[in-house]
């Protein structure tokens, strides 16, 4: 009988623990794997919560999925890096305002042997063409993420339809998983610099092509419009957007280091770089 009592007691204790887990003022944010998995949000959000008392629950998915969660009203705020999809999000009225927050850049990484010979090629489209010409293995995110959108843009500009080719591998996974896969297969891939730096020491890959203005990677934040979904916590979410783009937020973004390097660069309030 005592064993039964112990089971019941444990269950009750666990339930009690679970019920206290929800914070009183908490908003939900859908964002990309690059901001969550790099550790940026784990660094930023406690500072925001300390300043405002508002907690944030982060759902880390690809940018496409993050915007979809916003469109369905399942989250209060979206932080993504897929400008074309974000403009559509604005146009459809799912947010009142898209605010650009920070940037870094995409880089083309590949095996140190560089069989396609793209090292030093600063034109990303030219680099992609060489990879396709050489038939060198290329791992694609294939998950409708911001990085995937950028990659598809580059193939389109290059006039290449990579799908269906034996060298083109669609992983359908997050950035770090794709980097690990590319490393294992000795393949090329397109990555945001932040994710690459975050897992660099686990990879047999090098940055081979970088510096093309087309590889600019811009992050923007959007509060889901309460016009569409009255239950959206727009006030709290708005406070997060304001904080993220304030001096305090920008300093926090600049202050984040991974392996001793800065991964994300804040934009000024009215800055409009690149694009």
């Amino acid at each position: 009988m005592s064993a039964k009592a112990a089971v019941v007691a444990t269950a009750l204790a666990l339930m009690a623990g679970a019920s206290t887990a929800a914070e009183p003022r908490t908003i939900k944010m859908a964002t990309t794997t690059s901001t969550e998995n790099s550790g940026l949000l784990a660094y930023l959000l406690p500072q925001f919560t300390k300043a405002t008392g508002i907690g944030i629950h982060v759902i880390a998915v690809g940018s496409g999925a993050a915007l979809k969660l916003g469109e369905n009203g399942d989250v209060d705020v979206v932080l993504s890096h897929s400008p074309a999809a974000e403009r559509e999000f604005v146009a459809k009225g799912y947010t009142r305002e898209r605010r650009e927050v920070m940037y870094n850049d995409f880089v083309v990484v590949g095996p140190k042997s560089d069989t396609a010979g793209i090292a030093g090629q600063t034109n990303a489209v030219a680099a992609f063409k060489r990879i396709a010409d050489a038939g060198a293995a290329f791992v694609s995110r294939g998950d409708d993420s911001g990085t995937h959108a950028k990659e598809k843009d580059l193939w389109k500009t290059a006039g290449i339809a990579p799908r269906g080719n034996g060298w083109y591998i669609e992983a359908g996974q997050g950035m770090e998983a794709v980097l690990v896969m590319a490393s294992e297969k000795g393949a090329y891939t397109l990555t945001d610099r932040g994710s690459y730096i975050a897992v660099e020491n686990k990879l047999q890959l090098s940055i081979l092509s970088e510096g093309d203005p087309a590889l600019f990677n811009l992050y923007a934040v959007m509060v889901v419009s309460p016009d569409k979904y009255p239950k959206v916590k727009a006030t709290e979410a708005g406070k997060f957007v304001d904080w993220l783009t304030s001096d305090a937020g920008r300093q926090a973004i600049s202050g984040f280091r991974k392996n001793g390097r800065q991964l994300f660069f804040p934009l000024g309030n009215k800055a409009a770089i690149g694009n």
Binding site: M1, S2, A3, K4, A6, V7, T10, A11, L14, M15, G17, A18, A21, A22, K28, T33, N37, G39, A42, H57, V58, I59, A60, N72, G73, D74, V75, Q173, G174, E176, A177, L179, V180, A198, V199, K202, L203, Y229, K231
Partner: protein, 224 residues
């Protein structure tokens, strides 16, 4: 990235909590349902059993998507704010494991020697009392159903990921943490978490086993 102690604790607690509550809810509904299914005969019973057997192999992500489509904001239950909460995981897990509980209970009760029930009836037992005798005879099998249910749920990742959202410190279970660490290439951390999950499961199963032992002991005493 360093996986901190309190993060592990939080994930362990959530996994145990959700797993235990889901298993308890499954037992609450599934054991009576399984007993009734064992007791009654009707046309199409074999079809029902066949469907339940098929549901044993339903992919967790499919259950996750099903629940997702039921509780997201645009769905009829959207007003309840269930998506991306531990409650959502419990709902999905109960749906996922209910067929296991019903089917295993049904099998255990069906396997009870008919003589036991007949003896009870001869001794003047009513339908309810007869049913209790059958359940009592099948208790080892029913306990196995509980253990199997818990086992399916504690190691499940699809439902937790889709309707829980893998939110740090809130809906991140052991399994979604393992999936995340694997995705990040942190294989060593992922393996460690897997080890902890197995140890947790061992603990729960030891409790279940001791429960079985104490039940058996009691009947021996009763027979004296």
């Amino acid at each position: 990235m360093v996986f901190q102690m309190h993060e592990i604790f939080s994930a362990v607690r959530l996994s145990l909590c959700v797993g235990v509550i889901s298993t308890a809810l499954c037992a609450l509904v599934g054991i009576p349902a399984g007993c009734i299914l064992a007791a009654v005969t009707f046309r199409g019973k074999r079809l029902v059993l066949c469907v339940l057997n098929t549901l044993l192999s339903i992919p967790t992500v499919v259950v996750g998507l099903l629940v997702y489509s039921m509780i997201c904001r645009r769905s009829p239950l959207g007003f309840m704010d269930l998506l991306f909460t531990p409650s959502a995981i419990v709902i999905g897990q109960v749906l996922l494991a209910l067929p296991i509980m019903v089917l295993f209970t049904c099998t255990a009760v069906s396997a009870v020697d008919k003589a036991a029930a007949e003896t009870a009836i001869t001794l003047g037992a009513g339908r309810f009392a007869t049913a209790m005798v059958a359940i009592s005879e099948a208790r080892t099998g029913i306990l196995a159903a509980v253990a199997a249910t818990f086992g399916r749920l504690i190691g499940e990742v699809g439902v937790s990921m889709i309707v829980g959202g893998n939110i740090w410190g809130y809906t991140r279970t052991m399994t979604t943490a393992i999936a995340l660490e694997t995705a990040k290439g942190e294989f060593a951390v992922a393996v460690k978490l897997g080890g902890i999950l197995l140890i947790m499961s061992l603990g729960v199963n030891m409790v279940l086993q001791s429960l079985k032992g104490s039940l058996r002991l009691r009947t021996v005493e009763e027979r004296r």
